[in-house]
Protein backbone atom coordinates (compact mmCIF):
# COMPACT_ATOMS: atom_id res chain seq x y z
CA UNK A 1 0.00 0.00 0.00
CA UNK A 2 1.32 3.41 -1.03
CA UNK A 3 1.84 6.05 1.62
CA UNK A 4 -0.61 8.85 2.39
CA UNK A 5 1.04 11.57 0.35
CA UNK A 6 1.09 9.40 -2.75
CA UNK A 7 -2.58 8.66 -2.25
CA UNK A 8 -3.31 12.32 -1.74
CA UNK A 9 -1.57 13.17 -4.98
CA UNK A 10 -3.46 10.43 -6.75
CA UNK A 11 -6.73 11.84 -5.43
CA UNK A 12 -5.86 15.31 -6.62
CA UNK A 13 -4.96 13.93 -10.02
CA UNK A 14 -8.22 11.96 -10.13
CA UNK A 15 -10.24 15.03 -9.21
CA UNK A 16 -8.52 17.07 -11.89
CA UNK A 17 -9.04 14.41 -14.51
CA UNK A 18 -12.68 13.94 -13.62
CA UNK A 19 -13.25 17.70 -13.62
CA UNK A 20 -11.63 18.02 -17.03
CA UNK A 21 -13.63 15.12 -18.43
CA UNK A 22 -16.91 16.51 -17.11
CA UNK A 23 -16.04 19.87 -18.58
CA UNK A 24 -15.49 18.36 -22.00
CA UNK A 25 -18.65 16.26 -21.71
CA UNK A 26 -20.76 19.07 -20.28
CA UNK A 27 -22.89 19.69 -23.30
CA UNK A 28 -23.08 15.98 -24.09
CA UNK A 29 -24.55 15.31 -20.65
CA UNK A 30 -26.90 18.26 -20.93
CA UNK A 31 -28.07 17.04 -24.32
CA UNK A 32 -28.84 13.62 -22.88
CA UNK A 33 -30.79 15.36 -20.12
CA UNK A 34 -32.64 17.51 -22.68
CA UNK A 35 -34.12 14.44 -24.29
CA UNK A 36 -35.67 12.97 -21.16
CA UNK A 37 -35.08 15.51 -18.41
CA UNK A 38 -34.56 19.20 -17.90
CA UNK A 39 -31.31 19.93 -19.71
CA UNK A 40 -29.11 20.65 -16.72
CA UNK A 41 -27.16 17.52 -15.83
CA UNK A 42 -24.00 18.67 -17.61
CA UNK A 43 -24.12 22.06 -15.89
CA UNK A 44 -24.87 20.50 -12.54
CA UNK A 45 -21.94 18.09 -12.70
CA UNK A 46 -19.67 20.76 -14.08
CA UNK A 47 -20.51 23.22 -11.32
CA UNK A 48 -19.84 20.51 -8.73
CA UNK A 49 -16.51 19.28 -10.04
CA UNK A 50 -15.25 22.78 -10.73
CA UNK A 51 -15.88 23.56 -7.09
CA UNK A 52 -14.10 20.37 -6.04
CA UNK A 53 -11.14 21.10 -8.32
CA UNK A 54 -10.81 24.54 -6.75
CA UNK A 55 -10.54 22.92 -3.33
CA UNK A 56 -7.54 20.70 -4.08
CA UNK A 57 -5.18 23.16 -2.38
CA UNK A 58 -6.91 22.46 0.89
CA UNK A 59 -6.29 18.72 0.58
CA UNK A 60 -2.66 19.20 1.64
CA UNK A 61 -2.34 17.75 5.13
CA UNK A 62 -5.75 16.07 5.17
CA UNK A 63 -6.25 12.37 5.62
CA UNK A 64 -7.55 10.51 2.62
CA UNK A 65 -10.98 9.90 4.11
CA UNK A 66 -11.26 13.55 5.03
CA UNK A 67 -10.39 14.54 1.49
CA UNK A 68 -13.05 12.27 0.09
CA UNK A 69 -15.55 13.57 2.59
CA UNK A 70 -14.71 17.13 1.54
CA UNK A 71 -15.30 16.14 -2.06
CA UNK A 72 -18.74 14.89 -1.04
CA UNK A 73 -19.74 17.95 0.96
CA UNK A 74 -18.47 20.25 -1.76
CA UNK A 75 -20.70 18.48 -4.24
CA UNK A 76 -23.66 18.68 -1.86
CA UNK A 77 -23.03 22.38 -1.37
CA UNK A 78 -22.66 23.25 -5.05
CA UNK A 79 -24.71 20.96 -7.23
CA UNK A 80 -28.29 20.82 -6.04
CA UNK A 81 -30.82 18.91 -8.15
CA UNK A 82 -30.98 15.13 -7.87
CA UNK A 83 -27.30 14.70 -8.69
CA UNK A 84 -26.12 16.78 -5.71
CA UNK A 85 -27.42 14.61 -2.88
CA UNK A 86 -26.94 11.38 -4.83
CA UNK A 87 -23.31 11.92 -5.74
CA UNK A 88 -22.31 14.20 -2.90
CA UNK A 89 -24.21 12.57 -0.08
CA UNK A 90 -23.08 9.11 -1.05
CA UNK A 91 -19.43 10.09 -1.37
CA UNK A 92 -19.64 11.80 1.99
CA UNK A 93 -21.15 8.80 3.74
CA UNK A 94 -18.94 6.22 2.05
CA UNK A 95 -15.80 8.20 2.86
CA UNK A 96 -15.88 6.68 6.33
CA UNK A 97 -14.76 3.39 4.79
CA UNK A 98 -11.48 4.95 3.75
CA UNK A 99 -10.25 5.67 7.23
CA UNK A 100 -6.61 4.68 7.23
CA UNK A 101 -6.21 5.05 3.48
CA UNK A 102 -7.12 3.34 0.25
CA UNK A 103 -6.44 -0.38 0.03
CA UNK A 104 -7.98 -3.07 -2.10
CA UNK A 105 -10.17 -3.89 0.87
CA UNK A 106 -11.28 -0.37 1.78
CA UNK A 107 -11.94 0.47 -1.84
CA UNK A 108 -14.42 -2.39 -2.05
CA UNK A 109 -16.05 -1.27 1.17
CA UNK A 110 -16.23 2.28 -0.18
CA UNK A 111 -17.83 1.12 -3.40
CA UNK A 112 -20.42 -0.94 -1.58
CA UNK A 113 -21.27 1.82 0.86
CA UNK A 114 -21.56 4.28 -1.95
CA UNK A 115 -23.97 2.10 -3.91
CA UNK A 116 -25.96 1.42 -0.78
CA UNK A 117 -26.35 5.11 -0.05
CA UNK A 118 -27.40 5.98 -3.59
CA UNK A 119 -30.09 3.31 -3.45
CA UNK A 120 -31.13 4.44 -0.03
CA UNK A 121 -31.44 8.12 -0.93
CA UNK A 122 -32.96 7.67 -4.35
CA UNK A 123 -34.98 4.56 -3.75
CA UNK A 124 -34.33 3.40 -7.30
CA UNK A 125 -34.07 -0.33 -8.04
CA UNK A 126 -31.95 -1.64 -10.87
CA UNK A 127 -33.79 -1.14 -14.14
CA UNK A 128 -35.35 2.20 -13.18
CA UNK A 129 -33.07 3.83 -15.78
CA UNK A 130 -30.85 5.76 -13.39
CA UNK A 131 -27.22 5.93 -12.34
CA UNK A 132 -27.95 2.82 -10.27
CA UNK A 133 -27.91 0.82 -13.50
CA UNK A 134 -24.30 1.77 -14.18
CA UNK A 135 -23.24 1.61 -10.59
CA UNK A 136 -24.61 -1.78 -9.62
CA UNK A 137 -22.78 -3.90 -12.19
CA UNK A 138 -19.63 -1.87 -11.64
CA UNK A 139 -19.63 -2.43 -7.89
CA UNK A 140 -20.60 -6.09 -8.19
CA UNK A 141 -17.84 -6.69 -10.71
CA UNK A 142 -15.23 -4.82 -8.70
CA UNK A 143 -16.01 -6.72 -5.52
CA UNK A 144 -16.04 -10.11 -7.22
CA UNK A 145 -12.79 -9.36 -9.07
CA UNK A 146 -10.96 -8.27 -5.94
CA UNK A 147 -12.40 -10.65 -3.37
CA UNK A 148 -13.09 -13.81 -5.34
CA UNK A 149 -10.77 -13.65 -8.31
CA UNK A 150 -7.93 -11.98 -6.42
CA UNK A 151 -7.28 -9.63 -9.30
CA UNK A 152 -5.15 -6.56 -8.66
CA UNK A 153 -7.32 -3.48 -7.98
CA UNK A 154 -6.35 -1.85 -11.28
CA UNK A 155 -7.48 -4.85 -13.29
CA UNK A 156 -10.63 -5.09 -11.18
CA UNK A 157 -11.34 -1.44 -11.82
CA UNK A 158 -10.95 -1.93 -15.55
CA UNK A 159 -13.51 -4.70 -15.41
CA UNK A 160 -15.79 -2.47 -13.36
CA UNK A 161 -15.59 0.26 -15.97
CA UNK A 162 -16.52 -2.26 -18.59
CA UNK A 163 -19.48 -3.33 -16.48
CA UNK A 164 -20.59 0.26 -16.01
CA UNK A 165 -20.55 0.76 -19.74
CA UNK A 166 -22.88 -2.18 -20.19
CA UNK A 167 -25.08 -0.62 -17.55
CA UNK A 168 -25.20 2.64 -19.47
CA UNK A 169 -26.16 0.79 -22.64
CA UNK A 170 -28.74 -1.15 -20.67
CA UNK A 171 -30.52 2.08 -19.72
CA UNK A 172 -31.28 2.92 -23.36
CA UNK A 173 -34.08 0.43 -24.08
CA UNK A 174 -35.69 0.83 -20.63
CA UNK A 175 -38.70 2.80 -19.56
CA UNK A 176 -37.71 5.07 -16.66
CA UNK A 177 -39.49 4.60 -13.37
CA UNK A 178 -37.42 7.03 -11.32
CA UNK A 179 -36.14 10.55 -11.88
CA UNK A 180 -37.54 13.13 -14.24
CA UNK A 181 -37.45 10.73 -17.16
CA UNK A 182 -40.23 8.76 -15.45
CA UNK A 183 -42.62 11.66 -16.15
CA UNK A 184 -42.32 10.85 -19.84
CA UNK A 185 -43.71 7.34 -19.52
CA UNK A 186 -43.04 5.21 -22.57
CA UNK A 187 -41.41 8.10 -24.36
CA UNK A 188 -38.31 7.64 -22.23
CA UNK A 189 -37.57 4.34 -24.01
CA UNK A 190 -34.70 4.64 -26.47
CA UNK A 191 -32.75 7.32 -24.61
CA UNK A 192 -29.58 6.96 -22.55
CA UNK A 193 -29.70 8.02 -18.91
CA UNK A 194 -27.52 11.06 -18.18
CA UNK A 195 -26.68 10.09 -14.58
CA UNK A 196 -25.58 6.61 -15.58
CA UNK A 197 -23.44 8.21 -18.26
CA UNK A 198 -21.73 10.63 -15.89
CA UNK A 199 -21.11 7.74 -13.51
CA UNK A 200 -19.30 5.91 -16.30
CA UNK A 201 -17.22 8.97 -17.18
CA UNK A 202 -16.11 9.34 -13.59
CA UNK A 203 -15.14 5.68 -13.31
CA UNK A 204 -13.21 5.90 -16.56
CA UNK A 205 -11.21 8.84 -15.26
CA UNK A 206 -10.49 7.11 -11.97
CA UNK A 207 -9.23 4.12 -13.90
CA UNK A 208 -7.07 6.31 -16.11
CA UNK A 209 -5.61 8.10 -13.11
CA UNK A 210 -4.98 4.88 -11.23
CA UNK A 211 -3.23 3.47 -14.31
CA UNK A 212 -0.71 6.30 -14.37
Amino acid sequence: MADESVQREALVAAVENVAARIESEKSHLTDLDSAIGDADHGNNMHRGFQAVAEKTDEFEGMDVDEIVKTIGTTIIGNVGGAAGPLYGGSIMTASQELEGGITAETSVAFAEAYLEKVKDRGDAPVGAKTMVDALTPAVHTYKKSVEHDDLPPLTALAKAVDAAERGVNFTVPLRASKGRASFLGWRSVGHQDPGATSTLFILEEILDTAGE
Binding site: T30, A35, D40, K178
Partner: protein, 331 residues
Protein backbone atom coordinates in the same frame (compact mmCIF):
# COMPACT_ATOMS: atom_id res chain seq x y z
CA UNK B 1 -30.12 32.88 -28.08
CA UNK B 2 -32.72 35.62 -27.78
CA UNK B 3 -32.26 36.56 -24.17
CA UNK B 4 -31.53 39.63 -22.13
CA UNK B 5 -28.61 38.03 -20.36
CA UNK B 6 -24.96 38.64 -19.60
CA UNK B 7 -22.79 35.66 -18.68
CA UNK B 8 -25.30 32.79 -18.47
CA UNK B 9 -23.61 31.47 -15.35
CA UNK B 10 -24.54 34.73 -13.58
CA UNK B 11 -28.19 34.42 -14.58
CA UNK B 12 -29.68 33.56 -11.21
CA UNK B 13 -27.32 35.77 -9.27
CA UNK B 14 -28.09 38.85 -11.36
CA UNK B 15 -31.81 38.11 -11.36
CA UNK B 16 -31.78 38.08 -7.57
CA UNK B 17 -29.83 41.33 -7.46
CA UNK B 18 -32.38 42.84 -9.81
CA UNK B 19 -35.20 41.74 -7.52
CA UNK B 20 -33.44 43.24 -4.54
CA UNK B 21 -32.98 46.47 -6.47
CA UNK B 22 -36.72 46.52 -7.15
CA UNK B 23 -37.81 45.65 -3.61
CA UNK B 24 -35.06 46.86 -1.29
CA UNK B 25 -37.50 47.39 1.57
CA UNK B 26 -39.22 44.06 1.27
CA UNK B 27 -36.44 41.59 0.58
CA UNK B 28 -33.06 40.68 2.00
CA UNK B 29 -30.49 38.23 0.67
CA UNK B 30 -28.72 35.84 2.99
CA UNK B 31 -25.00 36.50 2.58
CA UNK B 32 -23.24 34.25 0.13
CA UNK B 33 -26.42 32.40 -0.82
CA UNK B 34 -29.19 32.54 -3.38
CA UNK B 35 -31.76 32.74 -0.63
CA UNK B 36 -34.10 35.73 -0.32
CA UNK B 37 -36.10 36.32 2.84
CA UNK B 38 -38.46 38.99 4.09
CA UNK B 39 -36.41 41.89 5.30
CA UNK B 40 -37.93 41.40 8.75
CA UNK B 41 -37.45 37.62 8.92
CA UNK B 42 -37.86 35.80 11.23
CA UNK B 43 -41.26 37.22 12.11
CA UNK B 44 -41.86 37.04 15.82
CA UNK B 45 -44.51 34.62 17.01
CA UNK B 46 -45.21 33.24 13.56
CA UNK B 47 -44.49 29.89 12.00
CA UNK B 48 -42.02 30.38 9.16
CA UNK B 49 -43.14 29.40 5.68
CA UNK B 50 -40.50 28.80 3.05
CA UNK B 51 -40.28 27.42 -0.43
CA UNK B 52 -37.67 27.02 -3.09
CA UNK B 53 -36.53 25.09 -6.08
CA UNK B 54 -34.89 25.66 -9.40
CA UNK B 55 -35.03 29.11 -10.98
CA UNK B 56 -36.85 29.82 -14.23
CA UNK B 57 -40.37 29.77 -12.79
CA UNK B 58 -40.60 33.45 -11.92
CA UNK B 59 -42.46 34.98 -10.12
CA UNK B 60 -42.08 31.67 -8.27
CA UNK B 61 -40.53 31.54 -5.77
CA UNK B 62 -39.22 34.85 -4.44
CA UNK B 63 -42.07 36.86 -5.96
CA UNK B 64 -44.33 35.39 -3.30
CA UNK B 65 -42.28 36.56 -0.33
CA UNK B 66 -44.17 38.90 1.92
CA UNK B 67 -46.97 39.34 4.41
CA UNK B 68 -49.43 36.48 4.18
CA UNK B 69 -47.30 34.21 1.99
CA UNK B 70 -43.63 33.20 2.15
CA UNK B 71 -40.94 34.20 4.62
CA UNK B 72 -38.17 32.92 2.43
CA UNK B 73 -37.42 31.43 -0.96
CA UNK B 74 -34.30 29.63 -2.10
CA UNK B 75 -33.35 29.91 -5.76
CA UNK B 76 -31.41 27.06 -7.33
CA UNK B 77 -29.71 27.30 -10.66
CA UNK B 78 -32.16 27.26 -13.57
CA UNK B 79 -34.34 24.14 -13.17
CA UNK B 80 -32.03 22.74 -10.49
CA UNK B 81 -33.00 22.31 -6.87
CA UNK B 82 -31.06 24.49 -4.44
CA UNK B 83 -28.46 22.70 -2.36
CA UNK B 84 -29.28 21.32 1.05
CA UNK B 85 -26.85 23.81 2.59
CA UNK B 86 -28.72 26.82 1.27
CA UNK B 87 -32.11 25.37 2.13
CA UNK B 88 -30.85 24.82 5.66
CA UNK B 89 -29.67 28.41 5.94
CA UNK B 90 -33.07 29.60 4.75
CA UNK B 91 -34.94 27.47 7.24
CA UNK B 92 -32.81 28.74 10.09
CA UNK B 93 -33.18 32.37 9.02
CA UNK B 94 -36.97 32.04 8.94
CA UNK B 95 -37.41 30.32 12.29
CA UNK B 96 -38.68 32.54 15.08
CA UNK B 97 -38.93 29.59 17.42
CA UNK B 98 -42.33 28.47 16.16
CA UNK B 99 -40.96 26.09 13.55
CA UNK B 100 -40.79 26.26 9.77
CA UNK B 101 -42.97 24.74 7.09
CA UNK B 102 -41.19 23.86 3.84
CA UNK B 103 -43.33 23.79 0.70
CA UNK B 104 -41.63 21.29 -1.59
CA UNK B 105 -42.51 20.41 -5.16
CA UNK B 106 -42.34 16.70 -5.78
CA UNK B 107 -39.10 16.23 -7.68
CA UNK B 108 -36.49 13.84 -6.39
CA UNK B 109 -33.85 16.56 -6.36
CA UNK B 110 -36.03 18.96 -4.39
CA UNK B 111 -37.23 16.31 -2.00
CA UNK B 112 -33.76 14.94 -1.28
CA UNK B 113 -32.25 18.37 -0.73
CA UNK B 114 -35.13 19.56 1.46
CA UNK B 115 -34.92 16.32 3.44
CA UNK B 116 -31.25 16.81 4.09
CA UNK B 117 -31.79 20.46 4.95
CA UNK B 118 -34.53 19.49 7.37
CA UNK B 119 -32.19 17.08 9.11
CA UNK B 120 -29.51 19.75 9.30
CA UNK B 121 -31.91 22.31 10.73
CA UNK B 122 -33.32 19.89 13.25
CA UNK B 123 -29.82 19.33 14.54
CA UNK B 124 -29.90 23.05 15.33
CA UNK B 125 -33.18 22.55 17.19
CA UNK B 126 -35.42 24.04 14.54
CA UNK B 127 -38.74 22.27 14.23
CA UNK B 128 -39.31 21.54 10.54
CA UNK B 129 -42.33 20.20 8.69
CA UNK B 130 -42.92 19.63 4.98
CA UNK B 131 -45.77 19.74 2.53
CA UNK B 132 -44.94 18.01 -0.74
CA UNK B 133 -47.03 19.28 -3.64
CA UNK B 134 -47.78 16.86 -6.47
CA UNK B 135 -50.64 18.39 -8.40
CA UNK B 136 -49.69 17.45 -11.96
CA UNK B 137 -52.37 15.03 -13.15
CA UNK B 138 -50.57 14.30 -16.43
CA UNK B 139 -48.25 11.86 -14.74
CA UNK B 140 -49.56 8.72 -13.18
CA UNK B 141 -48.64 8.22 -9.58
CA UNK B 142 -47.53 4.63 -9.89
CA UNK B 143 -44.65 2.24 -9.56
CA UNK B 144 -43.57 3.43 -12.98
CA UNK B 145 -42.94 7.02 -12.04
CA UNK B 146 -41.35 8.92 -9.22
CA UNK B 147 -44.83 10.21 -8.44
CA UNK B 148 -46.56 13.29 -9.72
CA UNK B 149 -44.82 16.59 -10.22
CA UNK B 150 -45.47 19.72 -8.24
CA UNK B 151 -46.52 22.51 -10.56
CA UNK B 152 -48.81 25.55 -10.48
CA UNK B 153 -51.00 24.25 -7.65
CA UNK B 154 -48.02 25.12 -5.44
CA UNK B 155 -49.07 28.77 -5.58
CA UNK B 156 -52.36 27.96 -3.87
CA UNK B 157 -50.42 26.07 -1.21
CA UNK B 158 -48.15 29.09 -0.68
CA UNK B 159 -51.19 31.32 -0.33
CA UNK B 160 -53.14 29.07 2.02
CA UNK B 161 -50.29 28.11 4.34
CA UNK B 162 -48.97 31.66 4.30
CA UNK B 163 -52.33 32.99 5.41
CA UNK B 164 -52.70 30.30 8.05
CA UNK B 165 -49.28 31.07 9.49
CA UNK B 166 -50.02 34.81 9.41
CA UNK B 167 -53.16 34.08 11.42
CA UNK B 168 -51.01 32.62 14.19
CA UNK B 169 -51.62 28.92 13.67
CA UNK B 170 -49.19 26.26 14.89
CA UNK B 171 -46.75 24.44 12.63
CA UNK B 172 -48.99 21.40 12.67
CA UNK B 173 -52.06 23.41 11.72
CA UNK B 174 -50.22 25.20 8.95
CA UNK B 175 -48.99 21.90 7.57
CA UNK B 176 -52.51 20.44 7.73
CA UNK B 177 -53.86 23.28 5.60
CA UNK B 178 -51.13 22.71 3.05
CA UNK B 179 -52.05 19.08 2.86
CA UNK B 180 -55.68 19.95 2.40
CA UNK B 181 -54.84 22.00 -0.66
CA UNK B 182 -52.62 19.24 -2.01
CA UNK B 183 -55.47 16.74 -1.70
CA UNK B 184 -57.85 18.97 -3.60
CA UNK B 185 -55.79 20.46 -6.37
CA UNK B 186 -54.90 19.25 -9.85
CA UNK B 187 -53.10 20.80 -12.79
CA UNK B 188 -52.40 19.91 -16.40
CA UNK B 189 -50.19 21.83 -18.82
CA UNK B 190 -49.47 22.21 -22.50
CA UNK B 191 -46.46 23.63 -24.35
CA UNK B 192 -46.63 25.26 -27.77
CA UNK B 193 -42.87 25.78 -27.78
CA UNK B 194 -39.99 24.47 -25.74
CA UNK B 195 -38.13 26.83 -23.49
CA UNK B 196 -34.52 27.88 -23.89
CA UNK B 197 -32.32 27.70 -20.81
CA UNK B 198 -29.62 30.36 -20.64
CA UNK B 199 -26.85 27.79 -20.20
CA UNK B 200 -27.89 25.57 -23.10
CA UNK B 201 -29.00 28.44 -25.31
CA UNK B 202 -31.16 26.19 -27.47
CA UNK B 203 -34.65 24.72 -27.15
CA UNK B 204 -34.78 21.77 -24.77
CA UNK B 205 -36.95 19.89 -27.22
CA UNK B 206 -37.95 20.43 -30.83
CA UNK B 207 -41.56 20.99 -31.67
CA UNK B 208 -42.88 21.35 -35.20
CA UNK B 209 -44.91 24.37 -36.32
CA UNK B 210 -48.08 22.25 -36.15
CA UNK B 211 -47.41 20.34 -32.94
CA UNK B 212 -47.81 20.79 -29.23
CA UNK B 213 -46.78 18.86 -26.15
CA UNK B 214 -49.41 17.79 -23.67
CA UNK B 215 -48.75 16.95 -20.05
CA UNK B 216 -45.61 19.02 -19.65
CA UNK B 217 -44.02 19.98 -16.38
CA UNK B 218 -42.36 23.27 -15.66
CA UNK B 219 -38.75 22.39 -16.45
CA UNK B 220 -38.82 22.28 -20.20
CA UNK B 221 -39.01 18.52 -20.07
CA UNK B 222 -41.02 16.98 -22.89
CA UNK B 223 -44.62 16.15 -21.98
CA UNK B 224 -46.44 12.86 -21.81
CA UNK B 225 -47.76 13.12 -25.34
CA UNK B 226 -47.18 15.01 -28.55
CA UNK B 227 -50.26 16.04 -30.48
CA UNK B 228 -51.30 18.10 -33.47
CA UNK B 229 -51.79 21.79 -32.88
CA UNK B 230 -55.20 22.51 -31.33
CA UNK B 231 -57.43 25.55 -31.02
CA UNK B 232 -57.58 27.40 -27.72
CA UNK B 233 -60.94 25.81 -27.00
CA UNK B 234 -59.66 22.32 -27.64
CA UNK B 235 -56.65 22.94 -25.40
CA UNK B 236 -58.90 24.28 -22.64
CA UNK B 237 -61.17 21.28 -22.96
CA UNK B 238 -58.36 18.80 -22.93
CA UNK B 239 -56.70 20.24 -19.86
CA UNK B 240 -59.82 21.00 -17.87
CA UNK B 241 -61.53 17.66 -18.48
CA UNK B 242 -58.43 15.77 -17.44
CA UNK B 243 -58.09 17.73 -14.21
CA UNK B 244 -61.77 17.53 -13.30
CA UNK B 245 -61.84 13.81 -13.90
CA UNK B 246 -58.79 13.28 -11.77
CA UNK B 247 -60.18 15.32 -8.90
CA UNK B 248 -63.62 13.84 -9.29
CA UNK B 249 -65.25 17.25 -9.08
CA UNK B 250 -69.01 17.16 -9.22
CA UNK B 251 -71.83 19.49 -10.01
CA UNK B 252 -72.50 21.87 -7.15
CA UNK B 253 -68.93 21.94 -5.84
CA UNK B 254 -66.99 25.18 -5.57
CA UNK B 255 -63.53 25.64 -7.02
CA UNK B 256 -60.80 28.15 -7.64
CA UNK B 257 -59.18 27.96 -11.06
CA UNK B 258 -55.85 29.14 -12.43
CA UNK B 259 -55.10 29.62 -16.08
CA UNK B 260 -51.35 29.97 -15.80
CA UNK B 261 -49.03 31.18 -18.52
CA UNK B 262 -45.72 29.41 -19.09
CA UNK B 263 -43.86 32.67 -19.68
CA UNK B 264 -43.91 33.28 -23.43
CA UNK B 265 -47.66 33.33 -23.96
CA UNK B 266 -49.37 36.72 -23.86
CA UNK B 267 -52.13 37.42 -21.37
CA UNK B 268 -54.70 37.85 -24.10
CA UNK B 269 -54.40 34.16 -24.96
CA UNK B 270 -54.72 33.15 -21.33
CA UNK B 271 -57.99 35.01 -21.16
CA UNK B 272 -59.19 33.27 -24.32
CA UNK B 273 -58.46 29.96 -22.60
CA UNK B 274 -60.07 31.11 -19.36
CA UNK B 275 -63.24 31.92 -21.25
CA UNK B 276 -63.55 28.30 -22.32
CA UNK B 277 -62.49 26.85 -18.96
CA UNK B 278 -65.29 28.76 -17.25
CA UNK B 279 -67.75 27.74 -19.95
CA UNK B 280 -66.90 24.08 -19.32
CA UNK B 281 -67.24 24.41 -15.55
CA UNK B 282 -70.50 26.27 -15.97
CA UNK B 283 -71.81 23.52 -18.22
CA UNK B 284 -71.08 20.98 -15.52
CA UNK B 285 -72.67 22.99 -12.75
CA UNK B 286 -69.33 23.48 -11.01
CA UNK B 287 -69.14 26.87 -9.39
CA UNK B 288 -66.02 28.96 -9.87
CA UNK B 289 -65.57 30.86 -6.67
CA UNK B 290 -62.50 32.64 -7.98
CA UNK B 291 -60.60 32.56 -11.30
CA UNK B 292 -56.93 33.49 -11.47
CA UNK B 293 -55.37 34.28 -14.82
CA UNK B 294 -51.72 35.15 -15.31
CA UNK B 295 -48.10 34.04 -15.11
CA UNK B 296 -47.79 32.41 -11.69
CA UNK B 297 -45.46 29.48 -12.32
CA UNK B 298 -43.53 29.67 -15.54
CA UNK B 299 -40.93 27.83 -17.60
CA UNK B 300 -38.71 30.69 -18.71
CA UNK B 301 -39.87 31.72 -22.21
CA UNK B 302 -41.98 28.67 -22.98
CA UNK B 303 -45.24 29.31 -24.82
CA UNK B 304 -48.16 27.43 -23.38
CA UNK B 305 -50.33 27.31 -20.32
CA UNK B 306 -51.64 25.12 -17.56
CA UNK B 307 -55.07 24.81 -16.02
CA UNK B 308 -55.35 24.29 -12.27
CA UNK B 309 -58.54 23.47 -10.43
CA UNK B 310 -58.78 23.34 -6.65
CA UNK B 311 -61.84 22.36 -4.65
CA UNK B 312 -62.44 24.90 -1.88
CA UNK B 313 -64.34 24.90 1.39
CA UNK B 314 -64.97 27.83 3.70
CA UNK B 315 -61.59 27.52 5.38
CA UNK B 316 -59.69 27.56 2.09
CA UNK B 317 -61.79 30.41 0.76
CA UNK B 318 -60.95 32.50 3.79
CA UNK B 319 -57.27 31.70 3.48
CA UNK B 320 -57.07 32.29 -0.26
CA UNK B 321 -58.89 35.58 0.19
CA UNK B 322 -56.87 36.72 3.18
CA UNK B 323 -54.56 39.71 2.89
CA UNK B 324 -51.26 39.14 1.16
CA UNK B 325 -48.67 41.70 0.20
CA UNK B 326 -45.95 40.31 -2.01
CA UNK B 327 -44.34 41.57 -5.22
CA UNK B 328 -46.31 39.14 -7.37
CA UNK B 329 -49.55 38.72 -5.48
CA UNK B 330 -51.57 41.13 -3.42
CA UNK B 331 -54.93 40.53 -1.81
Amino acid sequence: MKKLVNDPSDYVDEMLDGMLAAYPDRLRRLDGTKVLVRSDAPVDGKVGVVSGGGSGHEPTHAGYIGDGMLDGAAAGEVFTSPTANELNEMVQACDAGEGVLCVVKNYEGDVMNFDTAGEMAEMEDVEVAQVVVDDDVAVEDSLYTSGRRGVCGTILVHKAVGAKAAAGASLEEVQAVGEKVVENVGTMGVALTSCVTPEKGEPTFDLGEEELELGIGIHGEPGTERAEMMSADEVAEHLTEKVLEDLDIESGEEVVTIVNGMGGTPQSELFIVNRKVQEILDGKGVETWDAWVGDYMTSLDMMGCSVTVCRVDDELKDLLNADADTPALKR
